[in-house]
């Protein structure tokens, strides 16, 4: 028995969002009587951090402290329309909608402040700390809370904004087949190292070196969290998870977590991540979002690494010990590519 080491490479261009119906997201932003803001969205935070990122985007655009923004994704029946949380679209689509809605709400907030300060709204700036003041004259100021309360209780003004992000549906040109299904791509490349046991057929992913280009990383901690967890899931899809039975028949397949096996905390690969920030032109503050691309390139890289290690080309996922052993048998044994 020998354990062979192999290295595999994969790269990906990943489209952000999709083309169906223009893939719109809507956002509604309004101020509350305490001068804080609510952002209403119908896309759901699955743990990927969408609420955190849209909250950052709203605070930045409104010019108020992040603590003064609450993102409400409670109810898609009553909230503004959204296509949903999928297709790696959250940061890009919802973020852009939140910017548009926040800009409109901000302009009303500044009009309310201008009326109180008896100045032109065009001369007002926010300090991000909860104050609005005349540009160059910080003493001529009003708090955002006072401006919001004046709007609501004195001026009869609604500090609110509507936002939508829509890329008009791109039809296929019948002559050329040309279309523009997406406006933004994210990119990644990675090198995976595996060991393959030529007696048991077991594949172990031991190391991942990755570079992900995600536009601007609007929340670097969340970006790394997604990349690390996503690569683990890619590794799991590549070499672990399957509903197929090994032997002898379909009804011997896994039906629970005892048999549908995923890598546990003791099966981790080391993973060195490089995040390359190239702000996207049409992204909210340049962001695209890591999304599904976290996991996808790990799979072909693992398959390539197995080929490098023992010369077995697997063309159906996942890479199970059975497939590796059948491939070794067909080849008459391991043929490490590095030895060729």
């Amino acid at each position: 028995m020998t354990r062979h080491t192999g290295r595999g490479f994969a790269a990906i261009n990943y489209p952000i969002g999709m083309n169906l119906g223009g893939d719109p997201s809507q956002a509604l932003v309004h101020s509350n009587p305490d001068g804080k803001f609510t952002v209403a969205l119908s896309a759901i935070d699955l743990g990927q951090g969408m609420k955190s990122v849209t909250r950052q985007i709203a605070a930045e655009t409104l010019g108020v402290p992040i603590a003064d923004v609450y993102v409400d994704t409670a109810d898609s029946d009553t909230g503004p329309h959204d296509m949903g949380s999928f297709a790696s679209r959250g940061t890009h689509r919802m973020g852009n909608a939140v910017i548009e809605a926040s800009l409109e709400a901000r302009s009303v907030m500044l009009e309310a402040a201008a009326e109180e300060l008896e100045v032109d709204a065009g001369d007002l700036v926010t300090d991000g700390q909860g104050n609005i003041h005349v540009r160059g004259a910080p003493s001529r100021s009003i708090t955002t809370m006072a401006a919001a309360q004046a709007a609501q209780f004195k001026q009869g003004r609604t500090i609110a904004g509507r936002g939508i992000f829509l890329v008009p549906l791109s039809d296929v040109d019948p002559e050329t087949g040309e279309m523009s299904p997406v406006t933004t791509f994210a990119h990644a490349a990675l090198v995976v190292e595996v060991t393959v046991d030529d007696e048991t057929g077991e594949v172990e992913v031991v190391d991942i070196q990755s570079a992900y280009e995600v536009g601007r990383a609007l929340n670097p901690g969340l970006v790394e969290q997604q990349l690390r967890g996503g690569a683990w899931m890619g590794m799991s899809h590549a070499a672990w998870e399957t509903t197929e039975p090994y032997y002898p028949a379909r009804d011997h397949g896994p039906v629970d977590f005892n048999h549908y096996v995923m890598p546990g905390p003791g099966d981790l690969a080391t993973h060195h991540i490089s995040v390359l920030e190239r702000p996207a032109e049409d992204g909210p503050y340049g962001g695209k979002g890591p999304g599904e691309m976290c996991a996808n390139p790990v799979l072909p890289a693992v398959v390539n690494a197995v080929y490098d290690a023992v010369g077995v080309r697997i063309d159906a996922l996942p890479v199970t010990p059975e497939k590796v052993l059948r491939g070794l048998q067909a080849n008459g044994g391991a043929r490490p590519r590095q030895a060729l």
Partner: protein, 158 residues
């Protein structure tokens, strides 16, 4: 069927409640006592989402008959914080981005707390062993391991 009276300690508070015959501890805690911190994942002891401690030992609440906790000390993730003051482990999970969807998090916290209560300075291998019964789909485990090790005052060596 007659209900079964059970008196026990729940997160340090004496409680008395009626359990249904055959009811498991997970349902008893969630429906009977309103403690929603233990989660229902698989219902067959494979995922760890319902992890609690009974007299300091980690147990899977879905596999424990409610009536068997009579007179015993049951602790869940809901008992980790002291009012608004979080357990250092909870702080560490936040600081290390060790939760995403959050479904495994209460079970992870209970398993980690039980480890640190008996072994305040675990090695990375001991941390892995302690959470090996808790499945996580989002994080890739590494941030969770790092969070627990940070509370133990050891630097992670991956």
């Amino acid at each position: 069927m007659a209900k079964i009276p059970v008196t026990f300690t729940h997160n340090g508070t004496d409680r008395a409640a009626f359990a249904d015959p055959g009811q498991n501890l997970l349902e008893f805690l969630r429906r009977g006592l309103g403690d929603l911190s233990p989660k229902y994942g698989c219902g067959q002891g494979a995922c760890g989402a319902c992890t609690v401690t009974i007299d300091g030992q980690t147990q899977l609440a879905c596999l424990v008959l409610a009536e068997t906790v009579q007179g015993r000390d049951v602790r869940t993730a809901a008992g980790l914080a002291d009012g608004a003051t979080l357990d250092p482990l909870q702080e560490a999970f936040m600081d290390h981005f060790a939760a995403q969807c959050g479904y495994c998090t209460p079970g992870m916290l209970v398993s980690a707390r039980a480890l640190l209560d008996t072994n305040p300075t675990p090695t990375r291998e001991e941390v892995i062993e302690a959470i090996s019964g808790n499945l996580c789909r989002c994080t890739g485990y590494e941030p969770i391991i790092e969070a627990i090790l940070s509370v133990a005052g050891r630097r992670a060596t991956a």
